[in-house]
Amino acid sequence: MAALTPISRKPLSLVLPTVAVAGAVAGMFVGASNGSVVLGMLGGAIAMAAVASVYITILKNEQYARWINIIGSGLLGFLFGGLLGGILGLLAGWFFAFFIYWMYEGRYRRKLLPYMTARQVFWHYAFRVICGAIFTFLITPILVVLPLSFNAQDFFTFTPEMLRLDPEGYSLKHYRDFFSNNEWQRSFKNSLIIAPIATVISVSLGTLAAIGLSQSHVPGRRLIMGVLISPMIVPLIISATGMFFFYSDIGRFLEGTLGMNKNFVGYVKVVLAHAVLGIPFVIITVTATLVGFDRSLTRAAANMGAGPVKTFFSIQMPLILPGVISGGLFAFITSFDEVVVILFVGSASQKTLPWQMFTGLREQISPTILAVATILVVFSIALLTTVELLRRRSERLRGLSPA
């Protein structure tokens, strides 16, 4: 992004205290592990301020300063804390070198509006730090648990070998288990069959109903809405038992009277049950997008001779698509991650991934479920990134500059 604000160097009276504060925070950790927090903070503050003033007033070369800082700090870390300390030292050195010049050169203002006050600038960055913390909260458990899928042992435990980065402590056996074990393969395949079909059903029926609901003068609208979102609000275990009875009857009818294949009927039952669970999400999202929908557009289309179907697909659908997609996403996840209803409605041949994971957790703690999770995470990162890249590409092609 282009710079919004011309930058200028900041006085030492601003730079040194800020750097000292950052140094104190870092010093706190070092001090804590060596016995005294206060001493550590003081030491960190003084050291960082001193280093910064040396770089700025004496050395006056950013490149040199950066490398000196990184290497020096890495060496110090290595001397005191071994390999891990060395790595942390390198990182800290890189960060402080960046931070000192970021402050001194005034780079922190570059991307902000020129008329912002100092306080606004401060809040701007404080807000980012808070958001960073929340993102860390969101992502850390997942990042922490994924390495355990390479555990050589059958537990969710970081073994001493793993912490020493000893190759002995790592193994791919849980991945082998996933790919060679029939139960895992079958349940993975089942999930991939059931979730998309259930999603398609809930999205198509749900979208239609949402469009119906958004018309004016629907009698008993509130009640209908209540009925349609009820699958979300009944405790799952009760839904599971209640639905069992219905699907048992349906199953008997399809197998006995219509003579359908037992396995196929099993899938039909589970797919329908999951579709019902996903419907509330679709209804809620799509009605929400329809609230802002401009009715005159459909009237205009009808005016010009388009039939209702044509109007729907060419006019309405593209406009409410975001709502439909996110509703579909919720519905997909509901089915893909559902572990209570499937236990009742499904039978062994429809065993899904969550069911297999659930048995795995109960009967034998096995990091295979983490291996599955890792594969799914990698897969979804790839998927989301591809979608984003495609979006950018189409934006470029349409001549829109990426905002």
């Binding site: 909260f137 997942i142 038992t241």
Partner: protein
Amino acid sequence: MRALMLIAPLLVFVLLSFVIPIASMLFRSVENGIVSETLPLTVEALDGWDADGDQLPDEAIYEAFVRDMVVAIEAKKHTRLGSRLNYEETGMSSMFRKSGRALKKLNPDTDGPFKDQLIDIHDGFGELQTWRVIKTHSVEVTNGYFLNAIDMQRTHEGAVSQPEDKQILVKLFIRTMFMSLIITGSCILLAYPISYLLATLPMRVSNLLMILVLLPFWTSLLVRTSAWKVMLQQQGVINDTLVWLGLVSDSARLIIINNQIGTIIAMTHILLPFMILPMYSVMQTIPVTYTRAAKSMGATNWTTFWRIYFPQSIPGIGAGSILVFILSIGYYITPEIVGGTKGVFISNRIAYHISSSLNWGLAAALGTILLGVVLILYWAYDKIVGIDNVKLG
């Protein structure tokens, strides 16, 4: 008319496959035909017996009981009745099972009188309480399960509260509500800044950051719950890191799992995406021009936010809150795994009664109450914010 036709397929589908089966499941909370079906003569005969008095029923009632039981044992229904009555009075289950063998041999027409024989077979038949329980629970439609669900019981003297050391369900209801509120609150606090950031950043950056929100959302609930266990244990990642850094001494590791803190942390994490996504989609639609206009007219940052931006973001907060609150009320797997003793929710008890104790009547009563609470909240929400304003994405 066309509107109804669009709604109809889904409505019929949901009504048939969900609402009706669930309603009939919940109906079990009042349905209680088993006693009068298994012991029709006894129930009729007990009609004239004074349950409040201190006299055992007379011979006629014992005879009726034997007649009923002989039929019931033949149909193997007596043990089922025993399990039903055992929910109300401990010991009934084995009494019916054990006495079954002896009772089977009796001939109602020739082997009388039965009173002493029965008391011989099992002491329980000589106790007033046995007959009181049978009489009290012989009604076909009972409030007994609902009374049990609020820590009371149906007795011959009317509704009485359970002994204090068995009162647990009301406490669990309150705890479930309270914890769900806290979880909803912490989700709002954490989701608001994130959603604001995502909504204000340029698209290409926000889409990348969105991956960080979607990843946990895509990851299985079971995996995330296990992850929190790995994180929060006393020998877990957080404690190990803190000890390594020296912020916490090895002997004073933080206790952040198997209690309410653990439940709140893990549930907040699991439900956070359900708050962020609706908030984000609402905030995206708030035009920047409004806040700029406010500022240009001299409003301070705070005023601009509080008077202009915040009110427009309320539908997102509402939608997120209702989703998170309802979902958290119903979760039981996560509290079971990270909640320890203080993190058990009412749904855990519902699951226990459905799958272990087979007391489906009580489970249905608990479920009905829970559903009632959610419906009241839903109604209140509709009144205050309007359900049309719910935006999810």
